[in-house]
Symmetry: C2
Subunit: 375 residues, 2 copies
């Protein structure tokens, strides 16, 4: 590899890959720039002179030594780190791309549901890393053989993060109620949906934990919303564009003191097109008023088609939970549904919310700690 | 007002404002469509026939009566509700618009800081509604005269919502520590920042509550990130575009078992250009790798300029908290900073996170309950 100073020191060329002087100086890892203990940056961009240039560049082994002016400061970089953080490339990804760590799925996942035994993940850090890795990758995971006791789902949340408390409580009871404040608390079947799209930010993880399930029916289904959106995009790029370009609205005001409203798209993209979220919930969809008249019919057609894809058995993984079993979903991606159930026997689940950043953080820290290959 | 069926029943014209048949049918509020108890929709779009048209339309007083085919279903609408949800208009808003409920501010807010007495908001629901309304509108509010006791900030969170627990705990101590896991736990001055941009979703509310503050220095400042972004857009539309179009990256791995990473823009826009979030934090900014080489220098120039605007005293509201006082910010909008402080005397704050949806929901429910004019 060779290094050359280019553009009068405003950048360097390292083996054909260019880096700007200001970017390099900002990403210095010396002890004056980054705290050696906690890794946080000790300076702000305002502390780096505006006309910063590279005046000397020298390579030896895996290290690049740069001198910056006007500071007269010398910094050493690991060339492997630099190549891993290179940005001198052309982005050819279209709208709705997903990152390397994401694997979309359909009913074919049925035979390889990301599953683990509760005791294993509670006791063995490698088993936990594996299960969390599946949850990050597929947005879905099951645990079996857990304790059949109230509040056991809080132990599941504690494996990777913290409960997101809401107006429904730290945890909520999913069973038939008289005068239900939410249709989830009835025996009705529920179309596949993401939970609480009327909340902003939505809870990004949901845990549903089974304590009793002798009723007829009440099977659970999960569907990968990213896979459904990809299928819509292939069939009908304009429909995908409409559902991602315009905001839908969601609302819940079903109990006293609560009036939750949001305005977000059904298919959420990062500004560079990465697919980052799905919101789909017929029960709490409010009037859509942010789509202009000229696009509303096509928007509704796309909304209908997305629902048909979501309802397609070819997309669905289904199972019936036994007491002591639970499933966990990335609620910004994977929809869940249940079949209606009858009044004979009993069905009692407990639910709670948590967040995906805890899943990803705990997984990344375990991978590092255990020296596992990063996924 | 007059009503006419147009486009072979696929839409109606109500006093010059058009509505589609499918939109109208989907937004019916009759007891078969919406649960009269909790307001949730009982049907999904799949339950409404694809070729739905209006076959009869009749107006009387404030009610519009429509008949839909092929269902043969008659539904009555409040015309006031329809006009309030009209979507037959042209959107002329440019990137970075903010909603009606948002008022951006600069140092001029100093003389009218949204402030209330702790006892008032704790006891009087109208006072609470007023204070929460200010927090929603300005993204910032102070409370004075609260109890000087550990954990008092949890009472503030309970006024409107629920604590967002994180790896820092349900609450965290902000005071000088030996071997700090975060630079916040030192006497260093901190540039104005939003908290935890490496979390996804970020905590959307932060509460900082003062228990001791006899140290010299340690004043707090708050800055309206939306106002700063608006100023950047006026000075340099391309810089605003770059900071909103490309993702930055943030990271925190300063303590064991934690490895939080995010990829989000510094200025976040909804797909239709609404400004919905600011992320700005020099300490946890990671290498920016999603900006192509050709745009990186201009991106850095915009990043620098945004920081200069944020640092401009003309944008800043500052104050020194006394024991029993706290401030609350919308952490997706308002940045906070502190001046460095010395070792003489003591400074002890407690902090916790919560979410803006609780602020907006509690405020909206109080406005409704008390019959106040909605802001």
């Amino acid at each position: 590899m060779q290094v050359a100073i280019i553009d009068e020191g405003r950048a360097i060329d390292l083996g054909g890959c260019r880096f700007h002087a200001i970017w390099l100086r900002d990403n210095a890892a010396d002890a004056e720039t980054r705290d050696p203990g906690n890794g946080q940056r000790l300076i702000a961009l305002r502390d780096i002179p505006e006309g910063t240039v590279v005046s000397e560049a020298r390579l030896d082994d895996a290290a690049l030594h740069l001198r910056f002016e006007p500071e007269g400061k010398t910094v050493t970089y690991d060339t492997g780190w630099l190549m891993a953080h290179a940005y001198d490339r052309v982005d050819t990804r279209g709208p709705g791309w997903t990152g390397e760590g994401i694997e979309t799925w359909d009913a074919g996942l049925m035979t390889r549901i990301p599953n683990a035994a509760f005791d294993d993940v509670a006791r063995d850090r490698a088993a936990l890393a594996g299960w969390l890795g599946g949850l990050a990758r597929f947005g879905f995971g099951k645990l079996t053989g857990g304790p059949v006791e109230e509040g056991a789902l809080l132990k599941v949340a504690a494996l990777f993060g913290y409960v997101r408390e809401t107006n429904y409580g730290r945890l909520f009871e999913v069973r038939t109620e008289v005068n239900p404040t939410n249709l989830a608390y009835t025996g009705l079947g529920l179309q596949a949906h993401t939970d609480n799209p009327y909340r902003d930010p939505v809870p990004t993880v949901q845990i549903l934990y089974c304590l009793e399930n002798s009723a007829e029916g009440g099977e659970n289904m999960v569907v990968d919303g990213f896979a459904c959106a990809e299928r819509l995009r292939e069939e009908n790029p304009r429909g995908f564009d409409l559902l991602s370009r315009y905001c839908a609205r969601f609302e819940y005001a079903g109990s006293g003191g609560v009036c939750l409203r949001s305005r977000r798209p059904m298919i959420e993209l990062a500004p560079d097109g990465e697919m980052i979220g799905i919101r789909f919930n017929n029960r709490s969809a409010a009037a859509i008023t942010d789509v202009p008249y000229a696009d509303m019919e096509a928007y509704y057609a796309a909304y209908r088609r997305l629902g048909e894809i979501i309802d397609d058995p070819a997309m669905e993984v289904s199972f019936k939970l036994s007491p002591g079993e639970c499933f966990v979903v990335n609620n910004t991606r994977v929809l869940h549904a249940r079949k209606g159930y009858s009044g004979t026997g009993s069905r009692w689940l407990q639910g709670c919310y948590a967040d995906m950043d805890g899943v990803r953080s705990t997984h990344a820290a375990l991978v590092q700690e255990l020296g596992l290959a990063a996924e």
